[in-house]
């Protein structure tokens, strides 16, 4: 399991404090910087999102959006050390909402602002204000295209992760997803294994596969995708009449450009009808299978919790540090066991429910993808999958021509 991976030289070797009688440890004091203020960060994020929206919808400039990414990486990535973090803030808020614990208004705003903007203008946050999105946007070299159907299936992974880690946060298991935040070592400048290895893997993959984290891991992206689906502003590849040159389709490495949907033959309509009917009939089975999946995953999830792990170690007679600490504490085994069982039952319930929900999402996605879209003669952008990078603008000959004329 991830928390048990050997940390090799992750843990820092430390010298003990000097033992001289006259020596007293100096008091640590951290000077608060203006950038430490959450509200200041919220304000800056709002400015960034506004600028991103302007660049994407008004200027329609790939160059401006690249500058937006560089600035986002510098400010939110390196200066604020990966804040807002789409992984951490999602879990913080999920736990806070589930357990009724206090959530700082600033943190809530950081969480809600990108979602609110997504309702208005799509995933502008992913474009460059998100430090993880920015670094992936900039460190992409040559695109290897993932076939669209496979891409749609793989995009279910973040949904699964969102549900799993929601269960973890709600049940108090902790924030295991934070171990999957691959770019954190770069932003924190702390290259401890195995996180540095994960970083290297994602950076290397990102050179060829556009935004691997955003597309196939990010749980916050699932929420943004959902909100963007209803966004008020819809991006258009060109404001001119599309000539269906397909350059934009080949220019978008994220699979967000949808090909034209023709009228379709009668046989296509019939096969489409059969497909939808079959998938609809499968819904109860999918819900059941999802629930079963969640039920089976529950013990694995609960094993991340310290109490459950401790009881298992005690039962197995393992002499770990946790066991030693427990033995010197006042909690009895009965109390610990009762707590572990209560937690385990909670996780079982939540995980099964999450499994059912996952089954529903999978079927909804499959049906949505399997049905014919509204007839459209030109290439269009799916706002829920578009990361607002502006590559399609740069690839569109009509846009380039217009820019040239403007110059």
């Amino acid at each position: 399991m991830i928390p048990r991976l050997p940390l090799l030289f992750a843990a820092q070797a430390r010298f003990p404090a000097p033992e001289f009688e006259s020596y007293t440890l100096p008091k640590m004091s951290l000077e608060e910087l203006a950038s430490d203020s959450v509200l200041w960060r919220v304000l800056l994020l709002a400015v960034f999102l506004a600028a991103g929206t302007w660049f994407f919808y008004k200027l329609r400039s790939r160059k401006a959006l690249l500058a937006y990414s560089v600035a986002g990486l510098a400010v939110f990535g390196f200066l604020f050390a990966s804040c807002p973090c789409p992984v951490g803030m999602f879990q913080n808020v999920a736990e806070g909402l589930a357990n009724g614990s206090y959530i700082q208004p600033g943190v809530l705003l950081l969480f809600a602002l990108p979602l609110a903007i997504a309702l208005f203008a799509g995933r502008v946050f992913c474009g460059g204000a998100c430090p993880l999105g920015a670094i992936q946007e900039l460190l992409h070299w040559k695109s290897v295209f993932i076939p669209r159907p496979l891409d749609r299936i793989l995009r279910l992974i973040p949904v699964l992760l969102l549900l799993i880690f929601s269960v973890c946060a709600i049940c108090g298991i902790g924030f295991p997803l934070c171990y999957l935040e691959p770019y954190l070592p770069i932003f924190l400048l702390d290259f401890a294994t195995p996180f540095a290895i994960l970083s290297a893997v994602f950076l290397t993959a990102g050179l060829f596969i556009s935004r691997p984290f955003c597309r196939y891991v990010c749980p916050y992206g699932v929420l943004l995708r959902f909100f963007s689906y209803f966004s008020l502003l819809k991006p258009q590849i060109t404001s001119h009449e599309c000539v269906n040159c397909r350059l934009c389709e080949q220019g978008c490495p994220n699979g967000a450009i949808l090909p034209p949907e023709g009228t379709g033959s009668t046989s296509e309509h019939r096969s489409g009808f059969r497909r939808i009917s079959m998938l609809t009939a499968l819904i109860p089975f999918a819900l059941f299978a999802g629930g079963l999946f969640g039920y089976f995953c529950a013990p694995v999830l609960s094993s991340f919790h310290r109490d459950v792990r401790l009881v298992r170690e005690l039962d197995a007679g393992i002499k770990s540090e946790a066991v030693e600490a427990f033995e010197s504490a006042t909690t009895t085994r009965e109390e610990l066991r009762a707590r572990a069982i209560k937690l385990q039952n909670g996780v079982l319930l939540a995980s099964t429910a999450a499994g059912v929900l996952f089954g529903a999402v999978v079927m909804a996605e499959l049906i949505a993808e399997a049905r014919r879209r509204k007839e459209e003669e030109v290439y269009t952008i799916d706002p829920s999958l578009c990361f607002c990078c502006g590559r399609c603008y740069a690839a569109c000959p009509l846009e380039r021509k217009e820019k040239h004329h403007e110059k």
């Binding site: 003990p16 560089v70 290259f191 389709e249 080949q250 298992r312 009895t332 999978v362 499959l366």
Partner: protein
Amino acid sequence: MKNDEIRRTLRFLQWTALTFILTLGLLLAYDMYRSRAPIKQAQDQLAELKQQDLADAKLSQTVRDLDYLYRSAYFQTKDKQRRGVLLLGIAFFVLCGLFGAEMFVFAPKLKVPRGTGAVPEKERRQLLVFASCGIVVLVVALAVLRIVLVPAETKHTVQPADAQNGTSGKKNETKPAIPTETIDLLAALEAEKSQWPQFRGSILPNANALPANWDFQEKWNSPVELPGNSSPVIWDDLVFLSGGDGANYAVFCYDANSGELKWKTDAPPAAKMPEVTEDTGYASPTVCVDSKRVYAVFATGEVLCLGHDGKTLWHKQLPDPVIMYGYASSPLLLGDKLIVQYDLDEKQTVFALNVFTGETVWKTEREGAASWSSPRGFVADGKGMIFTAGNMLAEAFSLDDGKALWSQECMGGEVATSATSNDGIIYFSNTGAFTGAFRAADGEILYNNEDVPAPDVASPVLCGDQFLLFGSGGTIIAIDAKDGHELYEEDLDNGFYASPVAVDGKIVAVNLDGDLYAFAPGKDKIETEGKYSLGKKVVCVPAFHRGNLILRTSENELICLESKP
């Protein structure tokens, strides 16, 4: 500058930055890995030097110099690494900037699209194929999760303690009873006088009658299912004792008149089998009994409370009793508190448990090392107090809150015997530790006779104005209880492991051969008033019941002896 030149320059810079990042990253990783070993070596070397006599000024200065040297080297290394990591971060940012710059300066090359473009209908069919494959992958992943991530023996779930052994939760109800009554300490102690409620009988002088004569016959003989060195205790006509063999632990109840086994209640299964020697066994602590409940402690650290009908009222697991030879201290019942002296190898604690619920009323940690002694209760000024002897301290605690009232650092060695008390004085003797008396009120040592060989297993006994020691070699030594001087010494054929008890002015003791004695301490010698040979090894204290004696032998028997008419 032409576009091609700009592109080439950017590419060159990108590759340079990438090479720099890789090289620096590898060097830093190697340096961090390499710098760990010298730090460990330096710490070990310093620790070794500190073991020596630091009063030596030269050595002390060497330690200081080395410490300074190592510390400087350590922080210099850390600073160097920090600078390296910062450089790495900057290089990353520069690389991102260079990639961005290339994209910024150059619009993407437009290539003539290949093929006929995406066919939505075809993609939809492919989607279903990929979805089917995804389901297969998910099922396989799930199977791997089950097999790899969760150890098979844990069966994925934390089992309730009583479910681990396959017993039903209803059979061994662990829910503690809600206390509905209070126990008056003095009244309880008074009531215990006519019973045999705990290790070595009652706290107050026991009021049981001695057998009419020492010419015994077996009234009944019942086998005990599980072995143990715990002694039998009696309340009215019920005899209670515990047993355990490492796998099973139980409390037994026999009819004192017929020897019939009335019930047996298993203790919850232990999470971990304790390490014990054969001499100690798994059930050495003697159980306690009051008018309604029986309390047993096992070598596993499990405390079990049963009703007189054998139903479990509560049970509690104390921390794992890691102790050389095994846990053997008998609990002490004082009113509404069960006192457990828990002197383990690493930590020494006295627990006071609520007899109604098993909750810890207080616990007091003690200094010292492992001991096997049982606590002794006494009453001073109407208040309950507890005396404990450990490997370092003799201490007294308040029964109410567990606060240490006094302590004397006069103990040592392997303390296994227990104290006795009378009239505000506590008497204690253990080989290598102490043989003497303390004033209960303030702990003042009244005397300590270091010249007499003290017992190592059997606890000393007070009879009249004599304090008697029964050694495991067979020596009996009488000490004047007032001033501690030796009165006389007597050698018998075999030694005593079972603690002697004083009843009705006589001392009843049983040796390792199973010879049951009735002694009357005289002025200059001990009179043997009765001797009966059981012919079986006995290490447990005999219990008294209406003029009869009930003994547990090492052959797993419970025997009731009655005087011949």
